[in-house]
Structure formats: structure tokens, C-alpha cells
């Protein structure tokens, strides 16, 4: 079975002014969105309120959850404590409908716990509030600084690898496209104001891995074609590379998307954020592999002579299947 004609020859690079223009616009829009609307940070990042409730008779966690939902407190994390008579609730105060953010003031614990008490007691009169407190974010400053270190590590690591295995221009083009993919993915999340928690952060980082993978496959073909063709007009070589890897690019992203779509539509709230972020990232990454990475490469002035094997390829690597 074949969906894409194997001798497709769309002149992708002819569209380069348009495609790069759109890419730059999308990036700028994302930056503006992130600067103005920011991300809708979840409990992991902001911290919130923790309320402990006790019951005279055993209660199931599911009942507590539905009681809170009915009382207008959504997205609360409910856990049983000890046995069946105590539960611990955590939520962002903004999830409480009576909560109005006052500038520079921390939310009023008593008001919030009253709301919780009302919600719980409507369902079960034997509920009592045993304790209330603020909780700090699960994500410490450490993770933030670790995140910066990790980002630098990724940029230097991938850049260096591509520089050694390919050439300087490939490293620059890959990293530039990578920045585009991450920014646009974050921009979309900011636009729809989807809650940004640790799981979503993990999938944004996974997008980096996915999209670099995608770019390298095209780059690999570019290198191969440059080396094998006698008359190598860069624009023609790049275009042929995109076309001959097109089927693979789209099939791989379709397969991965199928798995993520199943998670999104049937997986329930716990994997929702993860799946939708991946779906956005796969779409952005696939499009940028086709329309953005190669035009950048062309503009940087890649040519056949840059890619002729200066260092002889490792014969061991070539021999392996």
C-alpha cells in the first residue's frame, strides 16, 4: 500500500520565502502570546491550597471527588490518608469559584475551606475540615535551573554532533528549526490556555527529541545525494531529498499521531495534556522538517564540497546493518 507517490516532486524550496515568512510570523506570534498571556501554570508549578477532611463513616475517594465537582471546585487532587475516614485535597485556589484574586494578597484560606466544607457536607453531612494550609509548588527553583542546564546541554550536544557528523550549517539549521518548533508548540498551548503542568512540560521536551529526529532523516538524505550526484545544484538536491523522504516523514508522524490521538480521545484527563501537546508538537515538527529546515540550509549556503568526506567515515559503522 502506498499513499504518497514515490516520484512526487513538489517544489518545496520554491515556497521558501512564503514558508520561512510564515515560520517567522508564527514564532513572533508565539513570543507575543507567551509574553502577554503567559502559560496557564498548573498546581505543580504554582502550589495551592491543601485541605484535610475527616468523615465519621468510611468514604470513597470517588465520592469526595464528585462532591467537589458538584460544589464547583474542579481539578482537585484527592487522596485518601491512612484509612477510609480521612482525605487530603489539593487544588489551585483559582479553581474555587468564590475565589477572586486580590492583587498582592494570598488567597483567604478560611473562605476557601468554607467552600470546601459546604461542597463536602452537601454530599455527606458527616464531613469535617481537619486542617488547611498553603502548599508550595512541586517544582522547585532547582528544576528551573536544571531546565536551563538541560537546554544548554541539548543545544551544545546536538549542535556538536551534527557539526561533526555533517557540517556546521546543518547544526545551525537544525537548532534554529528546533527553537521554532518549541516556541510554536508553547505558543499554541498559551493560545488555548491549556493547563501547563509537569506532564505537559515533559511532552514539550519530548517534542524536541521527536523533531530533531525528523530533521536528521532529511539531512541524512541531503548528505547522501550531495555525495552521490555529479552535478549538484544545492536547491535541486535539497528539494529531491525532501521529496524522497516525504513518505517516511508523513508515515512516521501519522503512526505516532495515531497512538497519541488514542490517548487524547480515550485516555481521560491524566494523559490529556501529554497527548495534545505531543499532537501539536508532531504537527509543527513535521511541517518544519518539510518547509523550514531545508530553506535555512539553502540560505546558509550548503554545497557539495562541504560534504565530501573530509574525514573518512568509520568503516565499522558503514558495515553494520
Amino acid at each position: 500500500m502506498e499513499i504518497f507517490s514515490h516520484n512526487s516532486n513538489v517544489h518545496f524550496l520554491g515556497l521558501r520565502k512564503v514558508s520561512i515568512g510564515i515560520a517567522v510570523l508564527l514564532m513572533l506570534a508565539s513570543i507575543v502570546l507567551l509574553a502577554t498571556r503567559s502559560l496557564n501554570y498548573g498546581l505543580d508549578f504554582t502550589g495551592g491550597v491543601s485541605v484535610d477532611a475527616t468523615y465519621d463513616n468510611p468514604v470513597s475517594v470517588e465520592d469526595v471527588r464528585s462532591a467537589l465537582d458538584k460544589g464547583g471546585i474542579e481539578n482537585a487532587v484527592v487522596q485518601s490518608v491512612g484509612g477510609t475516614r480521612q482525605v487530603s485535597l489539593r487544588f489551585q485556589p483559582k479553581d474555587d469559584k468564590h475565589y477572586v484574586l486580590q492583587e498582592g494578597k494570598s488567597p483567604n484560606l478560611d473562605l476557601i475551606s468554607n467552600d470546601v466544607a459546604k461542597a463536602l457536607q452537601t454530599a455527606r453531612p458527616d464531613a469535617k475540615i481537619a486542617g488547611k494550609n498553603y502548599v508550595g509548588p512541586q517544582v522547585g527553583e532547582q528544576l528551573r535551573s536544571d531546565g536551563v542546564t538541560a537546554a544548554i546541554f541539548v543545544i551544545i550536544g546536538i549542535g556538536l554532533y551534527l557539526w561533526i557528523r555533517f557540517e556546521r550549517r546543518f547544526a545551525i539549521a537544525a537548532l534554529a528549526t528546533e527553537v521554532h518548533d518549541v516556541l510554536v508548540t508553547l505558543g499554541v498551548i498559551s493560545l488555548v490556555q491549556r493547563e501547563f503542568d509537569l506532564t505537559v512540560l515533559a511532552s514539550v521536551l519530548a517534542v524536541i527529541g521527536y523533531s530533531i529526529n525528523d530533521k536528521v532523516v532529511v539531512f541524512d538524505r541531503i548528505r547522501e545525494l550531495f555525495r552521490s550526484s555529479r552535478k549538484a545544484d544545492p536547491e535541486e538536491v535539497l528539494n529531491r531529498s525532501i521529496n524522497s523522504t516525504l513518505s517516511r516523514t508523513i508515515i512516521t508522524s501519522t503512526f505516532t499521531s495515531i497512538a497519541m490521538a488514542a490517548l487524547y480521545f480515550f485516555g481521560g484527563p491524566s494523559v490529556h495534556g501529554f497527548a495534545i501537546t505531543m499532537l501539536i508538537g508532531i504537527l509543527v515538527g513535521t511541517l518544519s522538517s518539510i518547509f523550514v529546515a531545508s530553506p535555512i540550509l539553502l540560505w546558509l549556503g550548503v554545497s557539495k564540497k562541504d560534504l565530501m568526506p573530509v574525514t573518512k567515515e568509520n568503516p565499522e559503522l558503514a558495515r553494520r546493518p
Partner: protein, 630 residues
């Protein structure tokens, strides 16, 4: 078959068997169990066991199994397994009610992995806080300790400052009331002004006020400004949080949740355990350390006298060592645990005897340099300050009495001047050295902490959400397998088999490392598998291309694998770099996710290329082919 050597078939077979073997323990889900132990006076005999069974039967709670066990570390205990967490909780409530105070009823997870699997090192992945819950500790940071530390430090620093500036003073002492700062007594108004200016300009965190002056005694009080004190407290909590995270994270991917709660509490949640005693070992000691000048050990008659009579010199403390031997140590603290950066055990290159090398931060190093410069040949002691809470049931209520114990864990002679790096030698064994290093590292908290609450917590995800998630995961995988088979026919089916083995090997490796399985982690596994098929897509597309270019089927397979390999390698190495970066990110879901991705990329390179090649070679090898099903 010529292009696929026999030893590679052997390798594939061995890896697959190992993968199945070490992935297998995950099939045996640990039982949610209730554990009953006897308190001191009562004994745990078959009669008690019968009592447990009767209690459960009368409460109509079905149990899976029940047995009386003995364990060297836990002693005798009865363990009863239940089919789910709700039954377990109900049973615990019922048992607590009927058994009363003479027995302790606790939750536990009882592994069901067969003994032969455990014997070869097989173990299941622990389930995360979202899927199964775990243990929660609430720790109070000792606010008084923060004030004590600061005021003691300023007392020493002010005395040193005045000496340094050559301002004569009668005394520098901490106010008897905590939080009231340091009292300085001077002999003239001019001295007092000079001292006041010196202190105010040197230590901006201190507020200096003149006290009452009588005759030739001019008092001065320096106390920490209230807003600065608040900053210090916030800082100490933040530092403790960081130390605690590092300590827990150093133990592997346990995906803990560590957060500040309220003003001065830290809450720690650990997954995969339901026994608080076991979890406490993970958190480690909530102790602190002090380096102090030694004033005498057990051989010193003055020390023996002090130990016997209880008359301790005013500038000294009488502390005991780990074997009960008395020591006199100075009240002045040279450096404390939060100034310790690292402690590692090793062997002294000169004598070969066990030692511990310690690294201090710059503040600690400066004080250590000052002290050792004047005290070569004199002893120095390491005091371990531990906070424990005794819980007693008085009149049916839990009464907690905090207790602080001081013990001298090391007492050694200073051999030379040193600052940030030094060694403690002359330890009895390398075991003693590693224990000391562990205790030193464990004591590097900025302020003392106390466990004020501990308990078992349930999963943070609802049962219906867990089920939904798992169903979606299976559906997603199924759809990918189906799509590959439809699109690439036989080669797709081969890729599917490889993908299945990829899952098995991935799970096996994760189990061996001990990665905690969470819902995002499961999503990560699906993502990894979805991306792993990329290698097969690359190979299949290449084989198709070769066929179009007029190669014979066998040549197309060979060329397809060869050409695709370079691409697969490049693509996976860059992907690997990205995954590696994730694993360096602190703790929690991100790290776990990164580890999953990292292992997944490595296993997929093996299964998608080597395993599929082996199967393809088996199917097509030695046959004359006209077409390929790709």
C-alpha cells in the same frame, strides 16, 4: 541467510529470553496487604491469627491470603493480602477496632513475585503516587534552631570583630532569651559608639540599640532585624528542601513529591512503599552536624570527673560517643552541617587506612582555616545532633515529645592547617568510614527537622481514570500495530513483532533499574514505541526504493538495511542527546520520562534493526524470491 551471521541469531535469542524473564515480575501485581504486629507485652501466636481471621469474617471482608511470618528486621507479623485498596482500608479499620491497642495494624505491599524470579534479581516496577499512592511525611522545620544558630554565630562573630577592630569590651554574650540577640558590655561610651558603628556596618542584618548604662558599664544589644529573620527562616526551609530532594533523588528514580506546606513544614511523598518505617530509611536522618573544638576524651581525668559528678565547665558540653564514652567539647561551633558540601569515604594514600574526606563551602572553610591555624595538635570533634519524636498514647491521645540527642561521632587530632578540604583518618574500618561519610552527608541540613505526621496515602488518580488511561494505551498501541501491518504488509508484521519485543525489553530494563511507573510514564512508553517504529518505516521505505530501482528482492533487503542504518544511527543519537538531558532534570515525572525515553531509544535500535533483520533473514533467506511483501 549469508548476510546475517549465526552469532547474531544467538544474541537476539539471548536478549529476548532475558527480556521476558526480567519483564515477567511486573505481571505479579503486589497485593495490598494489612500487616499486624504485636506490641511489646503481647505475643503473636496462632490464637492471634485466629482472632484476625474471625474479625475479617465477621466484618465480611474477603481476603486473598493470610499467613504468620517471621522476618529478621520486622520480627513476627501476620500479613493478610486483599484484592484491592478499598478492601485493604476497610479491613485495617475493622482490625484496629477489634484488636485494640495491644496490636499495631499497618498497611503494606506484599510482593507476589515467585521466589525463583526474585532469586535471579527479578523485581516489578514500583507504581507511582498517581497510580498507587504511597507514604506521606510532614516535617516541621525547627524555627528555634534557626534563631539559635544565627545568634550563636553572631555572638562569635561580634567578639571576633571587636577584637579585630581593637575595641576593648568586657563581654559578648547571647541574651538568655531566644530571639533577643547578642548583648555586648563595654567600658566607655566612646567604645560603645565605635562598637555600634562597627557592628552596624559589618552586619547589615543586625539592628543595634544602646542598652542601659550603669557607672562604667555600657550595654549594647545587637539583634537580628525581624524582616531579616523571616528571610533567614524562608532560606533555611528552602535549603532543607533542596538537601532533602538531593538525598531522595540520589537513591534513584523514585519520583517523590517534595513541597513546602504552610509556613514551616515540608511534606514528602514517596511512592511504592506503604510502610512508613521503610520509607523513613529513604528520607534518612533529620539530623544536623557541628564541628567543635575537643576539650578532652574519656582518658582525660577531667572528663571522667565531669561524667561522674555532672559538673561540666561553663564553656563546655558533655556529650557521649556512639559506644557511650564521654567527651568534653567546646560550646563554640566552628562549622555546621549546612556548610558541608560533600563527604566521601576512601583510603588514605599514605597509610592505606580508611578515611573520610570532607569538603566545606567558602564560609565554613574560612572559619575552619581560622580555627586550625591556632590549634594544630589539638583535638576536634564532630557532634551529631538528632531530633527524634517519641509518640506515646496517653488517655487515648497521641502525645509527642520531641527529644534532641547529641552524640560525638568523631574525635580526632588536628594534624595541620586546612580550610575547605580535609580528611579524617584513623578510622577503624572502611565500614566505619562509609558510615561516617553517610552520617556527615545526612547531617547537612540548614535547620533541624522533626517528623510530625506520617501516614499512608491513596493514589492521586481516580480508579476510573487509571482504567481509561490503560485502555487508551492499549488501543493506541493496537492501532499503530494495525497501521504498520496494513501499510507495509509482511514487513509491517515483522516490525510489529519487533515492537512487541521492544515493549518487553523496555519493561525489563526499567524494572531492573527500578524506574517508578506513573501514568505519564506509561504515556511515555507509548510515545517511545510510536517513535520506535520510525526505524522500520525508514528501512521499509528504503527497501521499496531499492526495489523500484530494479534491485533483486534479497539485494533490496540488504541495501535497505545498510543504507537505513546510517540514518537511523544519526537520528537516534541526536534523539538520545535530547533524552539524556531530560534525565539530568532534577526529579519527578520529567526525570522518569527521560529515563523511559532513553532506554526506549536504545532498545528500539536493537529491536527495530537487529531483531527485524533476523526475522526477515529467516523468512526470506535461502529462497528464490520474485517479489517482496513490503
Amino acid at each position: 541467510m549469508s548476510d546475517f551471521p549465526r552469532w547474531r541469531y544467538f544474541l537476539v535469542a539471548v536478549v529476548l529470553v532475558l527480556g521476558i524473564l526480567y519483564g515477567l515480575p511486573n505481571v505479579y501485581v503486589p497485593l495490598q496487604a494489612v500487616q499486624v504486629t504485636a506490641n511489646q507485652s503481647t505475643s503473636l501466636d496462632p490464637a492471634a491469627q485466629q482472632k484476625v481471621i474471625t474479625a475479617l469474617q465477621s466484618a465480611k471482608i474477603p481476603y486473598v491470603n493470610e499467613s504468620l511470618k517471621h522476618d529478621a528486621s520486622r520480627g513476627d507479623y501476620i500479613v493478610i493480602g486483599f484484592a484491592n485498596g478499598d478492601l485493604q482500608k476497610n479491613a485495617a479499620d475493622a482490625l484496629k477496632a477489634t484488636l485494640g491497642d495491644s496490636y499495631t495494624v499497618a498497611f503494606n505491599l506484599e510482593p507476589t513475585v515467585p521466589r525463583w524470579l526474585t532469586a535471579i534479581g527479578g523485581r516489578a516496577m514500583p507504581l507511582g503516587l498517581d497510580l498507587q499512592g504511597g507514604v506521606r511525611f510532614l516535617m516541621a522545620v525547627d524555627q528555634d534552631d534557626i534563631v539559635d544558630r544565627q545568634e550563636n554565630r553572631y555572638t562569635q562573630d561580634i567578639a571576633a570583630l571587636l577584637k579585630d577592630r581593637k575595641i576593648p569590651f568586657i563581654s559578648v554574650a547571647r541574651n538568655a532569651t531566644r530571639g533577643q540577640g547578642v548583648n555586648v558590655m563595654l567600658s566607655s561610651a566612646a567604645d560603645r559608639t565605635a562598637a555600634s558603628d562597627a557592628i552596624a556596618s559589618e552586619y547589615t542584618d543586625l539592628g543595634v540599640t544602646d542598652g542601659a548604662s550603669t557607672g562604667d558599664r555600657f550595654a549594647l544589644n545587637a539583634s537580628i532585624k525581624p524582616n531579616k529573620l523571616h528571610d533567614l527562616q524562608v532560606n533555611a526551609i528552602r535549603q532543607n528542601l533542596a538537601t532533602l530532594s538531593n538525598r531522595i533523588n540520589a537513591l534513584g528514580v523514585s519520583e517523590p513529591v517534595i513541597q513546602v506546606q504552610g509556613e514551616d513544614h515540608i511534606s514528602v511523598e514517596l511512592a511504592g512503599v506503604q510502610d512508613p518505617a521503610e520509607a523513613k530509611k529513604v528520607i534518612g536522618a533529620t539530623a544536623t552536624l557541628q564541628y567543635v573544638a575537643g576539650l578532652g576524651d574519656a582518658r582525660d581525668p577531667a572528663v571522667q570527673d565531669a561524667a561522674k559528678t555532672g559538673n561540666v565547665p561553663p564553656d563546655a558540653h558533655l556529650y557521649y560517643g556512639q559506644h557511650g564514652e564521654p567527651f568534653l567539647v567546646s560550646k563554640n561551633i566552628i562549622a555546621s552541617g549546612d556548610e558541608l558540601v560533600d563527604a566521601a569515604s576512601g583510603n588514605d594514600p599514605q597509610s592505606g587506612s580508611p578515611m573520610v574526606s570532607v569538603t566545606l563551602n567558602s564560609a565554613g572553610a574560612a572559619k575552619m582555616l581560622d580555627f586550625t591555624r591556632d590549634n594544630v595538635g589539638k583535638p576536634m570533634a564532630v557532634v551529631y545532633v538528632e531530633n527524634t519524636t517519641d509518640t506515646k498514647i496517653v488517655d487515648g491521645k497521641e502525645v509527642r515529645t520531641p527529644k534532641t540527642t547529641y552524640s560525638v561521632i568523631n574525635y580526632a587530632t588536628i594534624n595541620g592547617v586546612f580550610s575547605n578540604k580535609f580528611q579524617t583518618t584513623g578510622l577503624q574500618s572502611s565500614k566505619a568510614a562509609s558510615e561516617l561519610a553517610l552520617m556527615l552527608k545526612g547531617g547537612s541540613l540548614a535547620a533541624r527537622m522533626d517528623i510530625v505526621q506520617e501516614g499512608v496515602i491513596g493514589p492521586s488518580l481516580g480508579q476510573d481514570n487509571i482504567e481509561k488511561g490503560l485502555k487508551a494505551v492499549l488501543l493506541g498501541l493496537g492501532l499503530v500495530l494495525l497501521a504498520a501491518a496494513i501499510y507495509y504488509k509482511l514487513f509491517g508484521l515483522v516490525a510489529d513483532v519487533a515492537l512487541f519485543f521492544n515493549l518487553v525489553i523496555l519493561v525489563a530494563v526499567m524494572s531492573m533499574i527500578g524506574v517508578t511507573l506513573t501514568m505519564p510514564g506509561i504515556a511515555g512508553i507509548v510515545l517511545t514505541l510510536g517513535m520506535a517504529i520510525d526505524a522500520n518505516v525508514l528501512i521499509c521505505e528504503r527497501v521499496r526504493e531499492e526495489l523500484r530501482n530494479g534491485s533483486t528482492p534479497l539485494a533490496a533487503i540488504r541495501a535497505g538495511y545498510e543504507k537505513a542504518w546510517a540514518t537511523i544511527l544519526d537520528a537516534n543519537v541526536t534523539h538520545l542527546i535530547a533524552a539524556l538531558a531530560l534525565t539530568t532534570m532534577g526529579s519527578g515525572p520529567i526525570k522518569g520520562f527521560g529515563v523511559t525515553l532513553l532506554i526506549g531509544i536504545l532498545t528500539s535500535m536493537f529491536t527495530s534493526v537487529t531483531v527485524t533483520h533476523a526475522i526477515t533473514a529467516l523468512i526470506h533467506g535461502g529462497r528464490k524470491l520474485k517479489t517482496l511483501s513490503v
